[in-house]
Amino acid sequence: MKKNLLLFIYSLCFLLLSTGYVSAQGTVTGTVKDNTGTLPGVSVQIKGTTQGTITNVDGEFSLNVPDANTVLVFSFVGYTPQEILVQGQKTLEVTLVQNAMNLDEFVVVGYGVQRKSDLTGATTRLSGDNLNKSVASSPVEMMQGRVSGVNIAQNNGEPGGGMTVRVRGSNSIRSGQDPLYVIDGVPLDNQDLTPAGAGTAGLNGSSNKDPISFLNPNDIASIDILKDASSTAIYGARGANGVIMITTKKGEQGAGQLSYDGYVGTSTIRQSLDILSADQFRSYRKTDGSALIDMGANTNWQDEIYRTAFTQSHNLSYGGGTKNNSYRASLGYLNQEGIVNTTNMQKVNGKITVTQKAFNDKLELTANLIASHTNDQRAPISETGGYEGDVILSSLKLNPTYPVFNEDGTYYQNSTTQRNPVAMLNLTNDITQTDQTIANLTAEYEIIKDLKYKINVGSTRSSVERRINQDNELTYLPNHGEADINTVHAQSSLIENYLTYAKKIDENQLNFLLGHAYQKFNVNGTAMNVKGFVVNDILYTNNLGYGNSSAATTSSYANVNELQSFFGRVNYAYAGKYLVTLTGRYDGSSKFGDNNKYGFFPSAALAWRLSDEEFIKSMNVFSNLKLRLGWGKTGNQEIPNKISQILVGTAGNANGFFNGVLTPGITFLRVPNPDIQWETTIQSDLGIDFGFFKNRLTATIDVFHKQTQDVLLEINAAAPAAASTMWLNVPDLRIINNGIELGVNGIIVEQTDLTWDAGLNVSYIKNNVVDLPVTMIETGNASGQGLSGTRVQIITNDNPIGTFYGRVFEGFDANGISIYKKDADGADALETLGSALPNYTFSFNTKLTYKAFDFSMFWYGVAGNKVYNNTANALFVKGSLNSGANVTVDVLNSEESIANSNAFSSRFVEDGSFLRLANVTLGYTINTKSVKWIKSARIYATGNNLLLLTKYTGFDPEVNSDASQNGVPAIGMDYTSYPKARAFTVGASLNF
């Protein structure tokens, strides 16, 4: 009877529902979703009671409700809670909106997590939509342009090519300015894992990968960037360059869920350079009226080496969990062809994460294993090559009337200085195989209430082998075919033990952390070169015996270093409004001199949540207002191994014939300095976080002052000394970075069918060098003919790092010869020509969602920087054309004389400002309600690098060719870089 009655009531309700009547209620069922699919684990509660349920793995729920006026509250971490008046509805479909502005999200800090509202330092968290996802082959690309104060530049366009990451400016004169990367609690070594290249044809070892390139972007849940010293001081001697904390995905509670993400796409060169066609080249007449060599062909050498490249990526993951455990396994595959023929990167990733709780949740175990294999096929592209030319250089300068092939089908190779880039590509085989694993196990145990002990044991291992074959058919090789086998092996092991204690007494919240960490790094490498191969059918590296073993060269090296640290942190909060953080780390490194084995790195920070104060609340303006003030001291221990120690030994340039026999020479190669220590950076930060309109509009402003001292430098010793140079921490020298960062995010429209949000990041950084004890440090070795010994960049007092220095070009005289500004003596004046460091970096992103469609767009850019167009300096001058090399159309038409030398001057230092439309994505979420086996599906199309607004005349102003001198890196150098691609992809994300 009762059942019938219910049935009756249901039917009635159903009828009434359509007419809007309200009546008594029974069971309500429904599904909860977000924009990507169904949401399991969502809390569904009857408002004002403790009654409720959670959604099952399919996002479904069923709940008895007392009456029609019942209000159901749907809440889930990271989503805006939604309240729904039942009003007789029997089935509900609820869509929760992800709350990017949620202040109570957790952020990852060193050795723990913190509520964002309790944070006192300057950190930025990227997750979900904030990460650049499409066509990111490395996690670093996922951050590019997303964080104010963090400048990320892609060094070139090679698949898997290196990135330069600078958190709040340049802190050092040497290399070793990369931030510390911490993956799930395991700090990585910024070890260069690119094995050396080969001697001939510019197969060099640059284009280093960033240390996290082996991670699959699909496995990354969030990236937290710790910028100020109060956040990074917990990493002590490794904190000065900023810390990037990467958290990988874990399984979520619920039945196992299978996900697939994949895309396919094409990429092409964004814009090739406008060089002369064969006919334009033929039209040129020398002063005596004769034409240049004409071999009769019409070859567009750029077209010959570039292609439409194909990329595909497939990622599968399976994860789930119960209250006590979770698991997630994933597999990724990426095959990315480069736009230069034959170049390619293939990457296979696997990752397994399991967590387990035990002993009434007192013990929590987490195990992580990430493994990857990368296969890079590279081309003879160098950044520092000689004038003979690599592939890019040859494609630009080679006579366009030369044919690719001779009539007999062999490659047409004119001479050693005029190389056929197609032959270079096809007759060179350069493959690097990289295997990397990272494994860690953590156990956290609650010893007594509020006191937890955590142990983290981790290990990383990398094994890289590069095999290069240069075929005998290449006529520019001095001694027939060449083979190189070069390797790098690196490993590190880590053990960390720490205790945390959290206690709340009335309004006082106290958190303590105390710990010890030990990490050991080993790296070794080998290099082997054999020449003289005359066979053609096999890869020489497969049988070096075919070469001339008497012309073989070999070398190897091995280094080990250790770090030991003691660290602690105290967080104190009163009433959730007044927040104090104190940290300290006592860090020791085996690289430091005996007199300075350990350094102490303290920090202090205060924050005041003004919005919790009555006088602010009463203003009714701010939904969040927080003032942060931080100070801290951090270090940079990325100094070369062994420099504090004496080296007496043999060196090639000390060997010699003694009594007719080649005898080693023993001499001082390095003078000891037991005082060698880390570089110290002291940073102050003042920040304000704003929230308006219930945090629909948020903003963060940070002002910082960063000063690096104890700068480590290899300077000339006062001759005669034991060795010609010596390492020391220069006493007075300071490198100062002052900056302002602004981040604004707003939800402009938030309706059921339509949401629109937008974000803007702007930062301004001014870098300055003070009290350098020498007049200048030169770097930026220009490459190319006529440019030997030309160093274009200096580090000098009262100028930023990366300052270009040289002649000031004032145009051509009547004869087409360059006029340079003169000094008082009538000699060419040498002046500073601007810095390669940008003053401003900025980005803009917006996302629009309408019903099932989503659309997003991302722009980024820099302003105020200079780029040295070394390629143009070496190639694109009139004299070059006159001697038979190809040039740009501008050069053909210019007034320049063929007699004009290609001296380095401001003529080739160009404005490097740019604005790039980096990404446009259009997505559609398919309604999968009717398909049982699929939970959610989204398809999308993406365009990358669609538009570049710049005055720069080279391929791309976002470039960083390696042109270092004596270990001092140069920046903003462009020499025959691998051009960046424009890419279009279509992809799908499916959850089963």
Binding site: S415, N559, F668, P720
Partner: protein, 512 residues
């Protein structure tokens, strides 16, 4: 449960303490040990580095460049888009250098390292129990230190110095002015003379009595430049000592000295031994920078089309009768002649070569310093390359730093300046008698002017790194010449590099 808790804490404490480390840096790939320098068995390896440093003085772009490119023997014109190199070469030729000149910085370092390496050898060999060998080696190292100091005196007029036993490198080295340094070098050489061996005993690859005498002769010849007073008699005396020893012979085959497989040539007094059988680490091959890009032969595929000589200099030669002007013995293996390369060039098969634009490769006497065409300027090949070398950048040639003809000419000049013209003519004609081209006779001189002496030095020693010193002594360095206006006499000294002044306040900048 309780048990578990304690065992866990114990485990954790154990872990903390066992993982503690003293952070002593472990070095895996270098033998750091100072025991290397304290082991008497390593004595040969200790004397070697100051000898090896001699190779650095032969790099074409360093010491050699400073002694050659500022003179009438050598010019590195800018060739369109090639060889501007930040103005380095034009500045050397025009004497418009500044203290930041990249070559000055490098040469200062090369010579400073020479002194340091000599000091290291003197000090550590001096710590060994004294034997005849240690005494001899210490004296050889003192010779080498004197040699590097002499080069610094010649180029810069100041020498930073520290005692071999002064190991406190935190104090600044003292700086000897030109006269003090010259007198110090002379005293040193005279002190060590009795303890050095002869060439017959140890070859010209080591510091010998003959080398010390020859160096003294050369220093006395230049004493007026270095210290302001003439010492012609001393120059004659030490030159006599070299010539009268039976260790050295002026041969009748001039070019035999400049082949790649020469060792211990009878004309050599002090030799820098090199080999392309090994990667030597330094020491130049002198053909790459002068030959045109397209003059490839054997394994020489990278040629740079740079330096040439001046017409003024070439025109001083008796181009028909003087063997030193031209030699064809390497043509069949390289396509090149030794001596001066003029006119149309050919490959080994006799096919005329072309420049990159397709025109014939004809080396012309004239060149424009700021804008030379590819084929402008007469090229010079002094040392023969090994066409089959597998190490294009390791020189196969043993290079003489001091040789007997130079000492004959030193004596001739000293005699001439001392009023003995007959004696001078005899010495010069002694050389000329051995320098006739095949089937020709190089006539003896019958009269002598001071210019003839400079000319003869040019004929005999061109492109061997002596020209600047000679032109300074003859007052000719600053004269106007092909493509160069007259320059001030202060250009006879190079400025001290800024990078050296930055770290040693005892140095005083020269008026440059």
């Amino acid at each position: 449960m309780k048990f578990n808790k304690f065992s866990l804490i114990i485990a954790l404490l154990t872990l903390i303490f066992t993982s503690c480390t003293d952070l002593k840096e472990e070095v895996l790939d270098e033998q750091l040990g100072s025991d290397l320098v304290n082991n008497p068995a390593n004595i040969d390896a200790l004397i070697n580095p100051p000898y090896a440093q001699l190779r650095r003085t032969l790099e074409w772009y360093d010491y050699w460049a400073l002694q050659q490119i500022s003179t009438d023997e050598t010019a590195f014109p800018t060739r369109g888009t090639d060889w501007f190199d930040n103005g380095a070469w034009q500045q050397l030729y025009l004497h418009t250098w500044t203290p930041d000149h990249i070559r000055l910085v490098d040469v200062w370092d090369v010579l400073g390292q020479g002194i340091s390496r000599s000091n290291t050898a003197i000090h550590y060999i001096g710590e060994f129990p004294e034997t005849a060998t240690t005494t001899q080696y210490i004296n050889e190292a003192r010779f080498l230190r004197a040699y590097y100091m002499y080069l610094m005196v010649d180029l810069f007029g100041q020498v930073p110095y520290r005692d071999a036993d002064d190991l406190d490198f935190s104090t600044l080295p003292e700086v000897k002015d030109r006269k003090t340094a010259t007198d110090f070098i002379i005293t040193e050489l005279k002190e060590i003379l009795p303890n050095l061996k002869t060439k017959a005993a140890v070859t010209s690859e080591r510091a010998t009595v003959g080398a010390a005498n020859a160096l003294l002769a050369k220093i006395y010849l230049n004493y007026q430049v270095y210290a302001g007073e003439p010492k012609w008699a001393d120059a004659i005396k030490y030159a006599d000592d070299v010539i009268s020893s039976s260790d050295y012979t002026v041969t009748n085959d001039y070019w035999s000295m400049f082949q790649y497989n020469v060792t211990n040539h009878p004309e050599f007094i002090l030799t820098c031994p090199m080999s392309d059988d090994f990667e030597m680490g330094s020491g130049s091959v002198w053909v790459n920078f002068t030959l045109h890009y397209n003059m490839t032969f054997g394994t020489y595929t990278s040629l740079w089309n740079g330096g040439c000589t001046t017409t003024d200099f070439v025109n001083t030669f008796d181009q028909v009768n003087d063997a030193r002007f031209y030699d064809s013995r390497i043509e069949s293996t390289t396509g090149l002649n030794q001596g001066f390369l003029i006119g149309q060039q050919y490959d080994m098969a006799g096919v005329p070569l072309k420049i990159r634009s397709g025109d014939p490769l004809i080396f012309t006497p004239d060149f424009t310093l700021g804008d030379a065409k590819e084929n402008e300027g007469i090229r010079v090949i002094k040392f023969a390359p090994n066409p089959a070398t597998t190490r294009q950048f390791s020189s196969p040639n043993d290079v003489p730093l001091l040789r007997i003809s130079d000492i004959y000419l030193v004596r001739a000049e000293a005699k001439f300046r001392n009023g003995d013209v007959t004696g001078a003519l005899a010495d010069i004609n002694y050389i000329r008698a051995r320098r006739s081209a095949t089937g020709k006779t190089l006539p003896a001189l019958t009269s002598l002017t001071v210019d003839d002496i400079l000319k003869e030095r040019g004929f005999e020693l061109y492109w061997e790194g002596f020209r600047r010193q000679d032109m300074v002594r003859f007052g000719k360095l600053n004269a106007a010449r092909q493509e160069k206006p007259a320059t001030d006499v202060k250009k006879n000294l190079y400025p001290i590099p800024t990078s050296a002044l930055d770290v040693n306040s005892n140095l005083k900048q020269n008026d440059y």
